[in-house]
Symmetry: C2
DNA sequence: ACTTTCCTAAATCCATGGATGTAAATCAAT
DNA sequence: ATTGATTTACATCCATGGATTTAGGAAAGT
């Protein structure tokens, strides 16, 4: 099977030339891959990607001159089919999280066994997103810390629940930056009525002005709640 | 080593009584675990958790009467040391994502081999967050889809970049719901100066009022950018 | 039938917000 | 040395926002 497919084309970006050679050899041993280029410069790497459109990029994200994460973002903006695996010396949860967030399809530590890297490459080339189990564990902890408050507020005493459906509509328009006049026009009611609703909203949310009302709404999952309801 | 530690206390919640018995036997085979209770009702499960404070809960999240995810949220709100592993019949990415988001420490399919479940339990009891590789792969795809737009806006022509550092500070205070007077007091400058800054902000962000400015800021990653800078 | 809640609306009054123009002091860069 | 950007500040004027009170009709629950 495998030998009939064309070789996957891989590009390596790492500011350490020695490391670069090492990975290149490692990958060239695998008969199903072909290294189409190597470079120690992120900027050069981006140019090479535009030129060769490789299937996969191994990107060192601990480079001095240019931030590897930023480079990944730029590559993602090109909207190519090229998959990116981040290579890093650190298993820092924040780094892993950010890399995955901007679209890296994998994250492998430089200290990991080469078999691990090969496995990651295989998985990613097969369309999967792959994190070694030790790293995914870290990722999830970070993820849960990040979303804990959000999930918590989702359910605790939420002043938004006291709003009537009309007030929800008005607040929804407020959260889109409309003023009284615009809201009145969109709801086909008079401006004074809108003012009445907005004042009631202020009371219920215990805030003093529109901006605070909008902030309260956004911080308490209003969009998630209401857009579903209104568009349904 | 292991036999000197007290047995980990496990609670099972699954509306299918047969399945419940199956898991119970499976777990009791393991000498290091002890099933302290089983129930087919989510509400009863929550009561049992309050009473026994088990180390781990295996929670079926596909139950008709009460949503398992909701139950997990309620348990999390108790702020106990109890870890939760979600059991599900479906490898739906959205389900997995939501379960992990609200604090499940693991997610295992009912169709998976029992060894897989035992492994997950071990990992979670050791303080890790564990998703079988097939599911974590799905999770990451979903995660990246969810954050793609956010990451995209992060880098495209962002009007926030034209703000001076003082204007950033003012906008930051605006995004916290402050009015002119409050901002002036916090920055030790006059109210008219604040107005000047705010007007310049409006010009640069091409908006008409504070609410729109705040919304623009929030929608374009302002908090992420600035809080780091100011608190640093 | 009666009460309550919701949506609508207006009047009034005051506070706050926003637009515009002007200008001085500071500082970095050329 | 001069320019340009930034931060500070004020005046003025008008627009918008917000508080408060009152009130009628509709709908829903008791």
């Amino acid at each position: 099977m495998r030998e009939f497919k064309r070789k996957a084309r891989v590009l390596l970006i790492d500011d350490n030339a020695d490391h670069l050679r090492g990975i290149k050899e490692l990958i060239n041993i695998e008969t199903s891959y072909e290294v189409v280029g190597t470079t120690t410069s992120a900027n050069m790497g981006i140019n090479l990607i535009k030129k060769y459109q490789p299937d996969l990029v191994l990107m060192d994200i601990n480079m001095p001159e240019k931030d590897g994460l930023q480079a990944i973002q730029e590559i993602e903006k090109l909207e190519l089919e090229t998959k990116i695996i981040a290579l890093s010396g650190y298993d820092d949860a924040d780094l892993i999280f950010r890399a995955m967030k901007i679209g890296a399809k994998g994250y492998v530590l430089k200290t990991m066994a080469s078999a691990q890297l090969i496995y990651a490459i295989d998985e990613v080339l097969n369309g999967k997103v792959y994190l070694p189990s030790a790293l995914s564990s870290r990722f999830f902890e970070y993820f849960q810390r990040t979303f804990k408050e959000e999930a918590a507020t989702q359910n605790e005493e939420n002043l938004l629940n006291y709003l009537t459906s009309r007030e929800e509509e008005v607040l929804d328009l407020l959260t889109q930056g409309n003023n009284y006049k615009a809201i009145a026009a969109k709801l086909f009611i008079s401006e004074t009525t809108v003012k009445t609703h907005v004042n009631n909203i202020f009371q219920k949310l215990q805030v003093n002005d529109r901006t605070q009302a909008v902030l309260y709404a956004l911080n308490n999952g209003f969009a998630n709640k209401v857009r579903a309801k209104i568009s349904a």
